[in-house]
């Protein structure tokens, strides 16, 4: 990896009227790196991409590509490729012409254009539909054509705006496996935008969580998942959503779900504080017999979730608890509506300040 970052966002801000959409956003992306910008809708992700692409200008801050400031430069003057969520293919042109468009703008010779278009089309396995117009392509093919157009020029910076959103589940999964390898061969600095945390964790070397116009956390996927900076980020990552309960620990244990649940020693400093305690579904062990330190509960439903199963529990004091177990373990629970015991792993609790949401 070379020293200087390919793409630099420096204190970028953007307002629409009174509404602040982006507020002091900074990030550096190196060549060949994929940074995933993840967050709920309305957080400002699409606006961020527009600012980098050049179709809009920031109100404050700077955007530098290869060290050169992009302020004031239009989209056509930047070395950026972009793939859109709704594909944005030119309806009156063939797939070939769509992909060739960036090369045409650079004034390349027809022969060279053909060579490069064919090469990227082969890589994305759409060589056989190049003569079709977008109307004649399937959603998967449109998405690949959109990607091919973004990649064909080998741009220094690549922006992918939730490209898998409008593609069916099967194809989405296949592309998720294929994309990292595909993008690695081009070496661009990649910003990938998505709302799906699994896609974010699967694709990104780093994840930047964008909420309400700010990067609330930037880090490796396992860090964002295991050490979320605040409660909202903890809820965004993980399926089922993390279980959260307001309570007051007393040092070694906490009154939770109608029983005394032991805590790890590391939580001792929270004694006497009001906190929101969170525990992820996979950190809960469920058995048909009581276990030391476990909570009694009623298992009301079993909903399989691919290779795992979600157990829907209700505690003695009426609170809901979701736990997951590997698929094979779920069989012994049948259809539910039976008593079970749940052990919440003491060292896996996450504590958050109830007022600010920050992690303690």
């Amino acid at each position: 990896m070379t020293g200087a970052a390919r793409l630099v966002l420096d204190g970028v801000a953007k307002r629409y009227g009174r509404a602040v959409v982006l507020d002091d956003v900074s990030l550096e992306v190196e060549s060949g790196e994929i940074v995933v910008v993840c967050g709920p809708s309305g957080g400002g992700k699409t606006v961020l991409l527009r600012l980098i692409a050049g179709t809009e200008q920031p109100d404050q801050g700077d955007i530098r590509i290869d060290g050169k400031s992009m302020l004031g430069l239009g989209a056509e003057q930047r070395d950026v490729g972009m793939a859109f969520q709704n594909f944005a293919l030119y309806p009156h042109l063939t797939a070939y012409q769509n992909i060739a468009s960036p090369l045409e703008a650079r004034g390349l010779a027809t022969a060279e254009i053909k060579q490069r278009v064919d090469k990227v089309a082969a890589l994305l396995r759409i060589g056989h539909v190049l003569g079709h117009t977008p109307r004649e392509l399937s959603n998967g093919q449109k998405q690949r054509t959109s990607l091919a157009r973004a990649l064909v020029r080998g741009p220094g910076t690549l922006l992918l705006d939730d490209p898998l959103r409008n593609v069916d589940a099967k194809l989405r999964y296949e592309m998720r496996l294929e994309l990292p390898r595909l993008l690695a061969s081009f070496g661009s600095a990649v910003i990938y935008v998505t709302q799906d945390y699994r896609e974010a964790m699967a694709l990104g070397r780093r994840i930047a969580v964008l909420r309400q116009g700010r990067f609330e956390q930037v880090g490796a996927p396992e860090t964002v998942y295991g050490e979320p900076a605040n409660l909202e980020i903890a809820r965004l990552f993980g399926d089922p959503t993390i279980n959260l309960y307001p309570c007051r620990p007393d040092g070694e244990a906490v009154e939770l779900l109608g029983e005394r649940v032991p805590l790890a020693p590391g939580m001792a400093q929270l004694a006497g504080r009001e906190v929101m305690l969170g525990i992820r579904a996979e950190d809960i062990e469920v058995a048909t017999e009581p276990m030391p330190g476990s909570v009694a509960a009623e298992l009301d439903a079993v909903t399989p979730l691919n290779v795992r199963a979600v157990l829907y529990l209700r505690s003695r004091d009426g609170k809901e608890l979701l736990a997951t177990v590997p698929e094979d373990d779920a069989l012994r629970f049948g259809r539910g509506h039976r008593p079970v015991w749940a052990k919440l792993a003491p060292d896996r609790f996450l504590a958050f300040d109830p007022a600010t949401g920050a992690r303690l």
């Binding site: 989209a75 709704n86 030119y90 009156h92 650079r106 004649e136």
Partner: protein, 285 residues
């Protein structure tokens, strides 16, 4: 759901035929009249069977009408020419001005943008008679009465708002992402306008142009007041058939047929563009 009986279908067919006849009857009658002499037309009782004659058409085209009171000069062909020139040039000018303006209204957000657009549309609301008197006074002051420039300028009042509103809608329907993608590819804004926006809005531009042409062609009042005989379009020229020796129904009917012809042909030709590419599928959904 949807089990149709044969009887129901026949009844529907009959009903539809009756409705169509009701609406088309006046036009059919005019067509028939144009092939009849005045005597045949005014015969009582009127009959559907008659001896067709082309005398009305020949009179119009040759410019001479032989009546009992003598030979009349008919300026109809000149009127036709005036209509064509006036409507075509007006629409062409309105498209030249209106299409880029529509693009600006659709794509750029500027202060008072919506207000300006609505003001321009409001020109269509006002009945022409309302503005006619002040307009004719201004024209006299400016020396524009009975000039081609003056007429074409006034016709913009008819054509521009129409084109603006229809074409703006079509530009708005084009997903902005498509144009963004073209700019990101490296093309400038003019190329984006000509290579992407215009081709995709073509059905709308054709529709708007056609509609504007029809409205300009059909306009009566502006031409009546602001133009003199040699610049009059067919709408005004039809008045000439109300002569001292009686109303020449046959010629009027023939004149009507000839008047309809250009707009009809234009509509048939432009139809291709109107239907084309209504669901182009380049954007998901």
């Amino acid at each position: 759901m949807g089990r149709s009986s044969l009887g129901g279908a026949v009844l529907r067919g009959m009903l539809l035929t009756l409705v169509v006849l009701f609406f088309l009857f006046p036009i059919l009658w005019v067509v028939l009249m144009s092939f009849q002499t005045n005597e045949t037309i005014l015969r009582i009782p009127p009959s559907l069977l008659f001896e067709p004659t082309l005398s009305n058409y020949t009179a119009l085209i040759s410019g001479k009408l032989v009546t009992n009171a003598g030979t009349l000069e008919l300026a109809f062909m000149n009127n036709l020419k005036n209509s064509v020139v006036l409507s075509t040039v007006s629409v062409a000018l309105a498209l030249l001005l209106g299409v880029p303006a529509a693009y600006a209204f659709a794509r750029f957000r500027f202060r008072l943008g919506e207000n300006i657009a609505f003001t321009l549309l409001s020109f269509r609301f006002a009945p022409p008679l309302l503005v006619l008197l002040p307009l004719s006074l201004y024209f006299r002051q400016l020396g524009l009465t009975d000039t081609w420039v003056g007429l074409i300028w006034v016709y913009q009042l008819i054509a521009l708002p129409l084109i603006l509103w229809i074409v703006r809608g079509y530009f708005e329907d084009i997903s902005p992402d498509i144009e963004h993608a073209y700019r990101i590819d490296g093309h400038g804004w003019w190329r984006t306008f000509t290579r992407i926006a215009l081709p995709l809005a073509r059905p709308g531009i054709a529709a708007a142009g056609l509609l504007a042409f029809i409205f300009c062609w059909n306009n009566f009042v502006f031409a009546l007041i602001l133009a003199s005989a040699d610049k009059q379009p067919v709408t005004v020229g039809a008045l000439a058939f109300v002569t001292a020796s009686g109303i020449q129904y046959g010629q009027i009917a023939a004149a009507v047929m000839l008047s309809i012809l250009p707009t009809l042909l234009l509509a048939l030709y432009a139809q291709r563009y109107l239907v084309e590419g209504l669901s182009l599928g380049a954007v998901k959904g």
